[in-house]
Symmetry: none
Subunit: 192 residues, 4 copies
DNA sequence: CATGAATGAGTTTTCATTCAT
DNA sequence: GATGAATGAAAACTCATTCAT
């Protein structure tokens, strides 16, 4: 009757945590943070409310954990663009491709982040994150357009970012949206 | 103490109603529907909760009234584009210009609509509206690009709509966003 | 169907508030703050939990309101001693008499304050109040003994205060405690 | 890896138990019984919750164990007074001195007992203990004053007990309280 | 028309206790 | 003996809605 080992406990904790976060993100993304009760999350995740509070200090802390994770995913987009030196057009294409792939595979994250960014008064503490991430992405795009010799790189960067964001939104509420085609359209439009 | 005439009463009624809707929209847009209490709306609007329920059957009904109004505003964009026959490029320019003007002057409406569109499970009844509106706008753009002789008018229409939507979003969470400049950039990009 | 006047509302509010505070104090005093639930208070007071939160921001705020009221009562003791100029012995007698009368008529206040003072970590914000009140009372006593020509007025003041406090405590957990007699004993002992 | 002997096990068990009780008493005394969670006690004591329940059947049982221990300490006061036959003044002095010493060295015990005595409805089963203890102490004092030839020995006993209790209370919530001086003051006052 | 006190169902959060290992 | 994940009942708190005046 040896007690469970530390590794065993860690394993259990990790699994439970991830399960809860996954379920919570889905619900937050589709129903909104305030319309998703802890009870619902617990029930959907098949655990008790109490356990949830064992892992996350509060409902808000749970949201934060999810958002942090989302950013880690988001950073992959930027890294993808930087791993290839040289041709800025290729870099742009890679960034766009990767972004589309990520959004396609993580719609809920995207939906959730968008919601948070639209309620600045409520999620003040997360605005800094969101804003920071945005600036990073913007700088990368500006840099690329500079190297492409674009007349007004900042303007072009903003336009590219807007086209991508807009596409993602429409994808989210349009059934049968041709997401992959749109990626190509954007690449074509902005690498001419 | 002359008794007020019916018109005066109606006048007062209308003003009070509009006041409440204005206040509610602001709060809904910035704090979200579920995070905005009836008490807060009533206090901010300077009326009692009881009066509010005199005008609107429920919190949800209040939201619906606001959304309906938002659509009336939205329809102006389309009409603006159609009032000018002839040159499709000019039509596109007019539509874009009008849309930007409207968003600039009614940020809260867009912010709110965007939020609602991101929570399909919660606001199912409003999804039909939003979707319908979108289709209408899309058709207008397709028609314009067809008359401009664009190779793939649907793709171009989708791209234009995306660029606009994306710009609006970024405008909403980016301080000092150069919205007017962006309108020109889009016009330039899509009318070549 | 005229709406209720402001005075009417104030009257109602005041009555409800006092009722709740009275019931809460009784329960806090006999069962302790943490062992008294809001539900219990509401039920005992014959109101809903919601109403309670209409008047007091939180359980803690309710406690604070009660404590503030207790201090107002406590201040009567000091004032009683000061209304009579001249003979310090008479002043001391008056203070002691008044204190005993107040404790007799407000056992619950006293019990509650004592509990709070014994849990400094929990009720940090109230310690300042309690400490301040104590210093005030102490100074009054010192002043009296000075005028009585006592050799060590501070020591004598401390002893008097201790005798009173101790008597009150024993009164609280001893059935048939001869409280009035004890007042006389203390007066006799400390005015010689 | 020699198997531990039974004595060793018992030794460990006893130490662990005492450690838990010590930690629990500290927390109960400063934060109150209901405001101290089992988790906190376990963490502070460096053991698991499970182990704690191995030693004590419930949170209440843990409290009881602590209180019992406190009474054993309290009984030392009485015994101290009785070990010296003869001079009642000396006996009184010894009792007072011992009591002050014990309180000084076991503040948390007194603090806790005082709290418990103030919440009769909650800790009914402990009231009997406390009351009994009190009566015992009272009788000893009465006996001493009788032998001192005091006019009203019961009154004097009550007063002495009150002065001591009151002093202890003030000591507990007054920083830098001159406890030792107070012992002398009381001795002087009541042995004349 | 207009008020805001009052309700109660639902929400977030806490915590003593159990139990598989 | 020992661990801490998991539970569930109960606590604090919120808020849309009703209603007497």
């Amino acid at each position: 009757m040896a007690p469970k080992s530390k590794e065993q406990f860690n394993e259990i904790r990790k699994k439970s945590k991830e399960n809860i976060m996954q379920v919570a993100m889905d619900l937050f993304a589709h129903n909104g943070f305030h319309n998703t009760s802890i009870s619902k999350i617990a029930k959907e995740a098949g655990v008790s409310k109490g356990l949830l509070y064992n892992y996350f200090e509060s409902k808000h802390a749970l949201l934060e954990a999810i958002v942090k994770e989302a950013f880690d995913i988001g950073d992959q987009v930027l890294e993808s663009g930087f791993q290839i030196d040289g041709d800025p057009k290729l870099q742009l294409r890679t960034i766009i491709k990767t972004a589309f792939q990520l959004v396609k595979g993580n719609q809920e994250y995207w939906r959730l982040l968008l919601q948070l960014s639209l309620q600045p008064e409520v999620f003040e503490d997360m605005q800094a994150f969101l804003a920071g991430e945005n600036v990073k992405q913007f700088q990368v795009l500006v840099n690329i357009f500079e190297r492409m010799g674009t007349a007004n790189p900042e303007k072009e960067a903003r336009l590219t970012a807007a086209a991508m964001d807009g596409t993602f939104i429409q994808f989210m509420y349009t059934p049968n949206y041709p997401l992959d085609e749109m990626a190509e359209s954007i690449i074509e439009k902005f690498t001419k």
